[in-house]
Symmetry: C3
Amino acid sequence: MADFKGKHILTGKQFTREEIERILQVAENFKEELKSRPSLDLTRGQILATLFFEPSTRTRLSFESAMLRLGGSVIGFAEASTSSTAKGESLEDTILTVCQYADVIAMRHPQMGSAEKAAKVSTVPILNGGDGAGQHPTQALLDMLTIKTEKGKIDGMTVSLVGDLKHGRTVHALVELLKHYKVNLIFVAPEELRMPQEITESMKSYSVPTKETDSLSSALKESDVVYMTRVQKERFADPAQYEKLKGAFILTRALVDKAKPGLTIMHPLPRVTEITTDVDSYEGAAYFRQVKNGLYVRMALIALVLGKV
Amino acid sequence: MADFKGKHILTGKQFTREEIERILQVAENFKEELKSRPSLDLTRGQILATLFFEPSTRTRLSFESAMLRLGGSVIGFAEASTSSTAKGESLEDTILTVCQYADVIAMRHPQMGSAEKAAKVSTVPILNGGDGAGQHPTQALLDMLTIKTEKGKIDGMTVSLVGDLKHGRTVHALVELLKHYKVNLIFVAPEELRMPQEITESMKSYSVPTKETDSLSSALKESDVVYMTRVQKERFADPAQYEKLKGAFILTRALVDKAKPGLTIMHPLPRVTEITTDVDSYEGAAYFRQVKNGLYVRMALIALVLGKV
Amino acid sequence: MADFKGKHILTGKQFTREEIERILQVAENFKEELKSRPSLDLTRGQILATLFFEPSTRTRLSFESAMLRLGGSVIGFAEASTSSTAKGESLEDTILTVCQYADVIAMRHPQMGSAEKAAKVSTVPILNGGDGAGQHPTQALLDMLTIKTEKGKIDGMTVSLVGDLKHGRTVHALVELLKHYKVNLIFVAPEELRMPQEITESMKSYSVPTKETDSLSSALKESDVVYMTRVQKERFADPAQYEKLKGAFILTRALVDKAKPGLTIMHPLPRVTEITTDVDSYEGAAYFRQVKNGLYVRMALIALVLGKV
């Protein structure tokens, strides 16, 4: 059985299918156990450090809640301005210091590769909570858990990924996990924000059927799952181009009603305008359940790297 | 008996006299129990989220200490700059997210009506820790507990409310609770900052005798309790007017010595100059005991909405 | 035996040799106990407030981890901008408020004398985590513990203190403790940043042999321990002077290899350039073990002032 004790969780690329399934299974067990009590007693006396060199309330609170629900405690910082980094300390020295205080570290950093840099010196497991344009493996795992629990399985699903596929860290991380499954992928993006070629080619090498389109409505007609992400104005050289396109990547209730029946709707959040609020009451709108799955997946990862499962 | 399980605490207006007394009684029980041990074991494994979209160290630490003294844990943020709000997320989405992590939410927000907005979507109880010029019910309840424990009862008391009665959130919230009791109220304010007419009329409809004056010294001669608040320069159109008036609403030891014997002095804190520090050693100076009562009242509210009493 | 229950820890000057040894001994006991379990159960239900009016992630996380490893809980703030201070509240009022929430307070403040000011009104023990150019006793104690555990003893050691000895709070605090021991001190600094005369004279009055030099390499030839600190550009009236001097106070691996065998290297951290990273793999490089000793010393102080040892 996959053993994670003492391991770092740095990128979606590091996992085999067996390992993904092990993590999802532990997460589902925790979900079940939390039905009868508010928290477990697995990591009593242990400390998680949440080092957020870049603010992300959602991810930080999810990690913290996960550690508390496991029975442990939390220290940390929510933004770099209050950290030693502001005094010119290297990331490596900060990590070597925090290792003396904590049993496991969850970090977010604006620079790509930071988690790996931290892992090189750390004496405790590092959980990458997002590093710039790099990886965000805990998000990808919670997305996998959401597909599994919403649809009952992952194999056989047609999944549309929508929005800024060029820069989107979460979609990049997600397809790295999906490629281990028998899925069909539809990449829905404006020309300017298409999925990078290296990813489409990586999918090919794993024999994952993919197709590209800029029509959300047509993709929805054959999708079991749609994964919405934000299209940011700043990504366009020509603002007029943005104004022209943005409406085409907004999911409305009208669109949902014409989609393939049973559609599951996901979003990494925070959403701004990508999903209109009239979609929220649709039963396949899974984005807040997705948040809860983040809790279970992070509990699983913390427990696994601490050797408590 | 009043049942608060699963309820939101949004405004002082929501309470009946019976409910106020239930909360104060639970708070007094906790005060008694904490004499023999540092904390209780009522909310073990449960999580309070403190969402402070506007900083307020005092209120935040009070809620956090309350949850810890009950045996629970805390997650949260101290200012909006580190929250998803900065990324354009709606208050409703933030609340729907945090509901997935926590069992109860205490929030402070700069905009009036925010707590009610949050309560509309929340799946866990919301405790309003102040929303703009709106309500601040936990402050009002701790003020009630302070009058009760300092004087032994609330009925029969003459209470002077002093300072900026026009904008003062805490005094507005407090009179909403006092109106259920047989009290006499004296509103002590400069002409520009008088208690709003709708409140004086609401008091009339509850048969609460009120009178208005701009003389603090005369009010003190007949008051059992004086509740001081700040008069802020920014509230005056004419700064010269502020300079002329401010001295008239400062409580000094000399004034206290000429007041009705046994006077109890309260202040929601932080104070700047409204009470001179030579008053601190006066035995009726209750403002730091008032802080402690905030702990007991918030413990009571958390335990009640979680159904733990 | 030295009794610390209810005492404030404000300055290195307050300790007798017996008291220093008591603290180090308790710290060593905790270090031993933590080998077999992640935390103790000594302060269950008690609350530490960390009031950081000036950010210091390292010191704050160390105090918080210490309280959690003892079994207690933590509330607090990481910077003054989110505290009531921003609303004009006096330090004394902030402390009188926090006393109502917590059982012990650790504070850092930019102004010298703040810890003493806080202690004057506090009803719970104050632990000074650094106050401006003033004291930083917990740092000094962890430095002592590091010398003791690295060398086996403190008496008989030759200790070089290097860098900005004029302004360096940590070196000033450390010599206040070292003076109770039979040590030889070498003060290594540029002319502009020499150890203040009152300290060199205080050492004389305790019969501690001292000498001054601006040559790091010569000092290293007779040192058992070298304590590096930062030389900050801002301290020099003439920037050219800084550029000329800075290289002379940087510890490199080449220098270490020519030093007295067995040299122990310490640094209060964060380091910027004072010790090159090629020194990190040298077995006498003790600066990250020093961080861990900070945890044990702070655990000892919290437990002692709470009367839990």
